[in-house]
Structures are given as C-alpha cells and as structure tokens.
C-alpha cells in the first residue's frame, strides 16, 4: 500500500485542481454570464435599495403586512446567515407549548378569523428561511391586513390571487405565496392610509 501512496497523492492533487477549482470556476463563469440575477441571490429592490431575496423569507410583525411562518433560524428567526430548524419531535412538550402560544397569538391578532388555522402557519420550516405560506394561510390573515390598510377585503384578496403560484406542471410541489413579494405588491398598489 505504501508504494501506492505516491500515486494517491498525485491523483488527489490533480483531481483537486480539476474538480475543486476548474469545475466550480467554470460553473461560476457560465452562471454569472447566463443567470446573473439568480447566481447572486435573486435580490429584490424597492425604491432603489435592496430589501431582501425573492427566495429567502423575512420576519413580518406589523399588522399591515402578511406574516411568515415561525422560524428557528438564528435567535430572532429568519437569520439568513444561520439557517436552522426547531428539530422538535412530535411528542416534545416544547413543540406543543409553542404551537399553543402561536394559536393564541394568531387569534389575538386576527379577531375576525373564526376558522381552523392551517398547519403551515403554526409550524417552523425546515430551513427557517422558507419564503412561502400556503394560500389558506394568506386568506386567514386577509381581513387583518385589509383593516390595517383601510382597504376592502376584496382588494386584498385580488392581490393574493395574483400572487398565488400553482403546482409546477399542475403536479409538483404545493400552491404557495411568496410573502415578501406579496407584501411588496401591497405597498405598491394599496399603500397604507396614514
């Protein structure tokens, strides 16, 4: 085996140059040329400054914005430099207490809502950075947002409908709404009445 080590180290060195430097370099060059926006993080601008990424969720607290799912990334949630999940198991007391608290908070913030809250709105995502909520979760918040913005429920619902993405090819994934893009659209077309 020892006489093979020479070949092994040389092979490792050349493979490092090929697959560790040349290959990522080539991919970077082509991607920066063809898919510049995506390659740099799908960053979204509003009024001239970058407000986030179309793929990364954000924390929203104010009543006039749609809220994202709870997040376990970083200390305050949605820390995009420290993706993380709760990793709570189904019989963990902390999971049940957290969901209970979220249910209470949701009903407090949305007194108009009388239904059962969709499961995605009360659970943390796998990445802690999920940009989407389900259409049902948006619908559940629509009345609050309309009231906070002083507009009719119908207007808000139209914007929700326009921002609902269906399943890919009618088959893959789930219908969903990008919360940041939805909130940006609200600010554009239904600015909050001061």
């Amino acid at each position: 085996m020892w006489c093979q080590l020479g070949s092994a180290f040389r092979m490792m060195l050349y493979l490092t140059v090929l697959t560790g430097l040349f290959y990522p370099g080539l991919v970077t060059a082509v991607c920066q040329l063809l898919f510049r926006w995506q390659a740099n993080g799908s960053l979204v601008e509003a009024e001239g400054s970058v407000v986030g990424s179309a793929l990364i969720g954000q924390n929203f607290q104010r009543p006039e914005y749609f809220h994202s799912r709870p997040s376990a990334a970083g200390n305050d949630g949605y820390d995009a430099s420290a993706s993380n999940a709760s990793n709570y198991g189904p019989t963990n007391h902390k999971l049940i207490r957290r969901v209970e608290a979220s249910v209470e908070e949701f009903h407090r913030e949305n007194p108009e809502f009388a239904g059962i809250i969709p499961s995605d709105l009360l659970t943390t995502s796998g990445s802690g950075l999920a940009p989407h909520i389900s259409p049902a979760s948006a619908e559940a918040q629509a009345a609050r947002v309309a009231k906070a913005r002083g507009v009719s429920l119908r207007q808000v619902e139209q914007i929700i409908a326009a921002h609902t993405e269906g399943r890919t090819l009618g088959l893959l994934g789930e219908p969903r709404i990008n919360v940041l893009l939805l909130n940006l659209a609200l600010d554009r077309s239904l600015p909050k009445h001061q």
Binding site: A8, M11, M12, L15, T16, L18, T19, Y23, V27, T28, V30, C31, L34, Q38, A39, N40, G41, V50, G52, A54, I56, G57, Q58, N59, Y65, R69, A73, D79, A80, S81, N84, A85, N87, Y88, G89, P90, T91, N92, E100, V103, I117, P118, S119, D120, T123, T124, G126, S127, L129, A130, S134, P135, A136, R167, T168, G173, E174, P175, R176, L180
Partner: protein, 634 residues
Amino acid sequence: MVEREAAGLGLELPSELVSALCPTGSLSRSMTPLGAFNIAIFFLAILALTKPLGLYMTRVFEGQRTFLHPLLRPLEKLLYRLCGVREDTEQRWTEYAASLIAFSVASFLLVYVIQRLQGLLPLNPMHFGSAQAPSNATRVTPDLAFNTAASFVTNTNWQSYGGENTFSYLVQMAALTVQNFASAAAGVAASVALIRGFARRQANTLGCFWVDLVRSTLYLFLPLSLAAALFLCWQGVIQNFKPYTTVKTLEGITQTIAQGPVASQEAIKIVGTNGGGFFSTNSAHPFENPTPLTNFVEMLMIFVIPAGLTYQFGRMVGDTRQGWALFAAMSVLFLIGAFICYGAEQSGNPELAQLGVDTHATALQPGGNMEGKEVRFGIAASALFAVVTTDASCGAVNSMHDSYTPIGGLIPLFNMQLGEVVFGGVGAGLKGMLLFAILAVFVAGLMVGRTPEYIGKKIEQKEVKLCMLALIIMAANVLVFTAISSVVGFQKNGYWNPPGPAVANVNNPGPHGFSEILYAYTSTNANNGSAFAGLNANTPWYNLTLGVAMLVGRFLFIIPMLGVAGSLAAKKRIPATSGTLPTHGALFVSLLIGTVMIVGALTYFPALSLGPLVEHFLMLEGKLFAALRAPLWG
C-alpha cells in the same frame, strides 16, 4: 368509517392496525391522490432512465468509446501520465483494495489540513478561522476537522457543523466538493470491481482502481454535475464568491444573506449521493433547492446512477434479467417505504390537531405534519425525498427528519439499517444488494441441500463467511456505539462532552431522544449523513465516535466485498442445470426481499422498539415529554 374505506379498496385490514397506523382514523386523510401520483411519476422516471444510463456506464467502464471521448479522452490520458498509472494494469483484489485505501488516506489528510488552515488561505471573504470571523461562527477544532474529513472521504457527509458559519469558500470547493467527486468515484469503482468478480471466469484480477476512478469522475460525474449545476442555477441556486449580503428588510430589520459557490457543490452532492449541504439546513434551504422542479430533479439525480448500475450489472454478467431482478426487489422496498412514510406524515401529529391546527389537506394548504417542512414541497415531496435519500446513501434532506412523526421517521431509519440496498448510494447499494443476493441463494441452498450458485458461480464457504463478516461488523458498529452513548457519563463542561453525559446532547426528551442517538450511528455507519439533527454532535465524544463509525462502515464493508469479488473472479462459470435456482424470476425477487427484511428486522427490532415504535404508541395516547430525567452521571 375506516373499515368502510378500507373495504372500498378491497382490503380487509384489522381495525386495530388501521387505527394504530393512521392516527387521524381515515385512509383518505393519510394520502391525497396527487401526492400518491407524485411518487408514481417519480418511480416511472427512474424506470425510464435506468437502461440508457446503464448502457452508457457499461461502455465507460469497459473502455469503449462514448460521445464524450473526443473531448475527455485526452484529459484522461493526461491524468494517467501525470500520476504514473498504466491504463492496461490489472490488479488483484488485494492491490485494488490497497489503492482505494491509499487514495482515501491521501484524501483524508488533504481535507483535514485545508480545514485547519482555512484562516490562512484565500477565498475566505467572511474570514472564518481567524479573529475577524462573524460572531456566530463555529470554530474548527481538531475533533470537528477529523469528523468532517472522515465524513467526506467516506461519502457520508455527516455534518457536525453548519456550512454557512463554519467554512470558507475554498474549503467548500477544494476540500469538500473534491471529496464529493472522489469518494463517489471510488465507491463506483469498487462496485464495478465487484461486478467484474461475477463477470470474469478463472481470472485473478478485478481491473485497475485508478482507471475506474478516473473514468467515473470524467465520464460520469463531471458531465452530469455540470448539467445539473447550470439547471439548478437557472432555477435560483446561487453561484458566486461574494461576501454575505446585508439588506434592510421591509420592516427595517437587518438581514444578512449567506452567499457562495453553491450550485457547483449542490450538483455533485446530489449526483454523487454525498448529501453534505453547503448550508446547515441542506436541501431545505431555498438557495440549495429553490423550487418543486429542482426538488424533483435532485431526487432523480440521487437515484439515477445507482439504478443504472443494476442494468450495468446485468449487462456485464451477460444477462440483463439478473439486473432487472435486483431492480425489481429494490423497487418493491422503495415503494413500500415511500407510501408508509408519506401516509404517516400526511396524517400528521394528533397532538397538534387537538390544539386547533388544520392538518387536513385541502386545495389551498398542505395539511399534515408541516413542522420542519417547506411549503413549496408540501408533504408528499418531503416524505418522498426522505425515503429516496435514505434508500440511497445520500443523506441530503429537504425537510427535518427529527420532526417527522414516529412512523414517518422510522422509515428513513430502517432504510439505512437495511444497508441502503434500495438503489443505494453510487455503488454502495449494489454491493449491499449483491451481498443479500449471495445470502439469499445460500439460504435457498440450505433448504434443498444443494451448493448454491449465483450468476453461474458456486457460492461457497469463503464468500458466505465474508458476507456475514461484513453484516456483523455493520450491525455491531451501529448498536454498540448507540448503547455506549446511551449510558456513558462525562464531566459537565469537561473536554469530552461539555453538556455532561452523552444523552444530554439530545434535543428531544423521551424515546425520541434515544431515536436521535440511534439515528446518528445508523446514518454514519451506513455512510448516509442525514440526521435527526437536534442531536448536538459537535463535541469531541460524538465527533470522534461518529467519525470512527463512518470509517468502519465504509472500509470494513468495502474490503470484505472486494474479497468476495476476488474469490468469485477466480471461479469457473458453471452452466445452469434443472437444479439451479433461477435468479431472475419472481421467486428469487421475493426471496431476496425476504432476506433483506428478515436480517434487518431481526438485527434492529429491539432498538427500534425503544425509539420510534414506543414513541408512536405514546403519541397516540397523548403522552408528551417535558425534560430529561435526572442524568445518571454528573
């Protein structure tokens, strides 16, 4: 209601069984037609790709011309010349194994050194490994560097760290991406050597490791990764060398968004069934897996090479039915696992349903158990990914297995315990399935009192002994380490395990905590790398024991299997007679599935009953677990 629906499907299920498996009490609540259709479409896509890729791979490893030769052949020759390899060399199994080990030693040292020196090396815009590193950065200690090096060299890609706050871009590329190629190529090489053991007659050699390594890297992994990387980037996966971007969100909060050369690493992570994410949350992270389409393609890429290998096996031994028989056995195990896992996750957590959470799927929301899952994938694509990644030795995750329901989490765990024989990682799965095929014909031979044969080779004492040796080492590797970590005590705030006893590192109290430990050693032994990620594994005790489990799981499996290959290659091929058990029919496929299930179940049932099984029944009774009991030590 349950009985009525079951009867409608023409099934007679005992009502206790239905209510035990299906907490919401209704089969229609545990699956949606579209979700089931997703699983079926995925399977059909794999079925369609198996033969074309298998044919291509056969050509590559038999040294025949492919459409990529005009471009890559000069590069291949150049690599041989630079490394002093003669292309027509033939190695005995011992030399083949020695080359593989030498290559792994060189890889290990290089990965270890690059990690430890990252603070001094370029392409490190966030200054990891130096004093200016971000405040949430993880320090790369010797034990963490050992664990990571063992992890990537063995194709496990277990991660005790979170990528975006631990490693520079150079480490991610020149150490980790390279190993994604190299460890996968070495795994494929060893599988091809095993196939040659069956295919050759009265030969004492198995081919040349270096040639197989270079060919699989150049003709298989590089082109597939390049195509996959461009596709992923088009869909939104990032690829740049910038420092992290800081933005002001709509509500005026500062958000720091991690960047990096992700697409190139993501592609080979999937194609090479490595599974080590650029980011901490792996393929759940929107920058690694942004859309349902990338999710589907990632799952396809995980399975396609292992599936192609079954066809290559049939082709090289001269009877493609033999390959399809293995494919059939794998398919049955895959589909059973996929539907059980999906059913359990779509049924959801009954404890949440009681709190006023809508876990019933509708057209407007996914329902089910969404803790640790992304809305863009929903339940079906998450559960399918979990099954695919553990059938194969991939270990990438698009949802957090730790938060699965007990039965949903049992399936990934059991898949790995079966030895990842269901398609398996690049190469690893075929080796495992051939091991079980040898055992299956051996068991059948015992029943009728006849020397067993497989693919025209007599299976004798030596092969069966080597197979059993590999099996016993694997089982002991999982169970002994799990047992030790369940009881061993350490000084609190000491060096070995600062949280105190090894059980203090779990994130979930009760049986789920035991499942976390069992999952960790199962995953590392099987070279999978997925985790019940709540376990805090970045301590010297876990880093070292998990690292050793990975090395044992890789090399003490591959070496006996190469021994089997060497022994088989030397044998004559005997013609099939009327007394030969045909190994391409339904009878053999059932026997093979039975062997896999019985060996797996007998070995792991006791451990599984202490973890996910007991948790399942306690969950149905509404039992919750608040905190660890008083630790045994410390």
